[in-house]
Amino acid sequence: MTVIALPVSSLAHRARPTEEPVWVRWTLIGLALAFLTLFLFVPLISVFYEALKKGWAVYIAAITEPDAVSAIQLTLTAAAIAVPLNLIFGIAAAWAIAKFEFLGKNLLTTFIDLPFSVSPVVSGLIYVLVFGLQGWLGPWLAEHDIKVIFAVPGIVLATIFVTVPFIARELIPLMQSQGTEEEEAAVVLGARGWQILFRVTLPNVKWGLLYGTILCNARAMGEFGAVSVVSGHIRGSTNTLPLHVEILYNEYNFAAAFAVASLLAMLALVTLALKTLIESKNMQNDKGKNR
């Protein structure tokens, strides 16, 4: 076999599909960086700066005063209920949509997306319309002394509604791409439904599931619009963290507002870090596992 030596320059030529001059490249990179700095980094840093401007003592006081603690507790409660419920719903819906054929499948997929396409304020209003005093179920609920709107249940319901798509949306394409062959293999080998779910289906989507759960959690804790409508803003009782930030801000209590906001910002940073970690894990897995 003869080896044909290519001139080095022509190889280098071929290696680069894009041939933009240096100044174009740096202008593009510079633009992107400037945009990110202006709209993301500066605000993020300013949150922490404002929060700590008056010193640690004020910061600690702002997040440990009873109303703030109650807001944190309520936010955690709402997330603690909404996330597991959506986890179950997401897995069930994705499993059904990805692994079975049934009538109305497209409709179900569309409905799962509804919370994404509808404004959170509207979803909040829907709950007021259904569960509120003047709503369809209002009189019945009042009769049985059940408070939904302007109470914790309403906040939980609104949170569940806006976070419905996160886990299901993450799992459906993943499960669809994996097909049903492994499940078929499992059932031929004698596995029962639960065994297939826990030993085959879920382990195969574990990273996607974790990813969806983290995003779902971030949204559950950060949701403002829908919760704002159903909460009634009762301090120390129906205020979540985002609502508490708003109240403090409207009272010109900037240091406290930013201190509480910094908690949410930290949640966002932790979420991002976890998300990046999972994505890199996932990528490593995919590299090996794709045939």
């Binding site: 062959e181 492994e182 078929e184 499992a186 065994q195 030993r199 195969n204």
Partner: protein
């Protein structure tokens, strides 16, 4: 365990995948379901496994009706075309899966599971891969693991869906003879689906040739190759030349040749097609050298010499049947005849099968 299939039909929307299939697989037999894609062979296999429900008909295992039985209760081993190994489990866990998911009372102890899995891994000669994951294995290795996994539950029946379809030619050949040897050792009733005629002819005890949801022929590899029951089987299994002619009361005329057709005594002036394998054609340079009545005159239009055989492409001089006639002769005979392109030759089928022409 024997398998019996009675009058199975299955429809996917407008597409009839199976039409009234009746079939018996003898105990300990290795049976091939052979056919082009869309012939229903995979559907039939999946119905036997219980992965698909038929619209009508019955499946019986050892004479007992299993039609309504759930897949997991049928105790069949199934090997998928794309292996379907559990990607999140090691090879060891893959093979152990069938034992681990058993209800507590029937589940072997951990040590027993280990012993069985290692035994199976040795059987497929891959015990050194126990701790790997499926994605670290080659296609051929994966397929052997898939087989070990299927055998772990000690199935009475082994069903294989295009087991070697996704492998390259060399590995496919290797695995093929390996499967045959394995079957000879274990004598487990096996059915495998393939679209590769060579694979079916080489490996199977009997072949079921399928087309458009129907069975065209069932027989040993020799039977289906030497005595195809229909034009379809003729064309699907190996090369074949078609000669158009006519049939009349037990005689047939093809080109200038007159032959006996004892199985068509009641035919009255019927258009017919003779199917002739390339190696069943006599070739000579002079017409008289071919004994019997008549011969077909043709010209050599191309010559392809491969190994011990020479393939000739011939054009008929009488202009009937425009397609090239393919003939295979031995290299020795080829030298004897001293053929070159453009030579005139006379041909005569030494063996042919007549079928009434299909009206298109």
């Amino acid at each position: 365990m024997s398998i019996e299939v009675r009058n199975l039909s299955k429809q996917f929307g407008d597409f009839a995948a199976l039409r009234d299939i009746t079939l018996e697989v003898k105990s300990g037999e290795l049976l091939a379901l052979l056919g082009p894609s869309g012939s229903g062979k995979t559907t039939l296999l999946r119905v036997i496994a219980g992965l698909e429900a038929a619209d009508a008909g019955q499946v019986l295992f050892q004479g007992e009706d299993a039609t309504g039985q759930h897949v997991r209760d049928r105790h069949v081993g199934f090997v998928f075309q794309h292996y379907a190994l559990f990607r999140n489990m090691t090879i060891f866990e893959n093979v152990a899966f069938g034992l681990r998911v058993r209800p507590r009372n029937f589940r072997p102890a951990g040590a027993e599971i280990s012993r069985r899995v290692n035994e199976l891994l040795k059987l497929v000669q891959l015990d050194w891969l126990a701790d790997r994951y499926p994605h670290q294995l080659s296609g051929g290795q994966r397929q052997r693991i898939a087989l070990a996994r299927a055998l772990a539950v000690e199935p009475q029946v082994l069903l294989l869906d295009e087991p070697f379809g996704a492998l390259d030619a060399r590995v496919r050949k290797e695995l093929r003879s390996w499967l045959r040897r394995l079957h000879d050792d274990m004598h487990i009733t096996s059915v495998f689906v393939t679209h590769d005629q060579e694979e079916a002819l080489e490996v199977a005890d009997r072949i079921v040739v399928m087309n458009e949801g129907r069975i065209e022929q069932i027989g040993t590899p020799d039977e289906v190759y030497e005595r195809p029951a229909s034009p379809f089987v003729y064309e699907f299994l190996g090369k074949v030349n078609l000669f158009h002619g006519r049939l009349h009361r037990g005689r047939a005329w093809i080109g200038g040749i007159e032959v006996d057709a004892p199985e068509h005594t009641e035919a009255e002036e019927l258009a017919a097609v003779a199917y002739v394998r390339p190696h069943d054609i006599h070739v000579d340079k002079v017409a008289n050298a071919l004994n019997g009545k008549g011969a077909i005159a043709a010209h050599v239009s191309h010559i392809l010499s491969v190994g011990p055989v020479v393939r000739l492409g011939l054009t008929r001089d009488d202009g009937e049947d425009k397609e090239l006639i393919e003939v295979e002769i031995s290299k020795e005979r080829f030298r004897e005849l001293q053929l070159t392109r453009g030579n005139q030759v006379f041909i005569k089928p030494s063996r042919l099968d007549l079928f009434p022409a299909q009206i298109h």
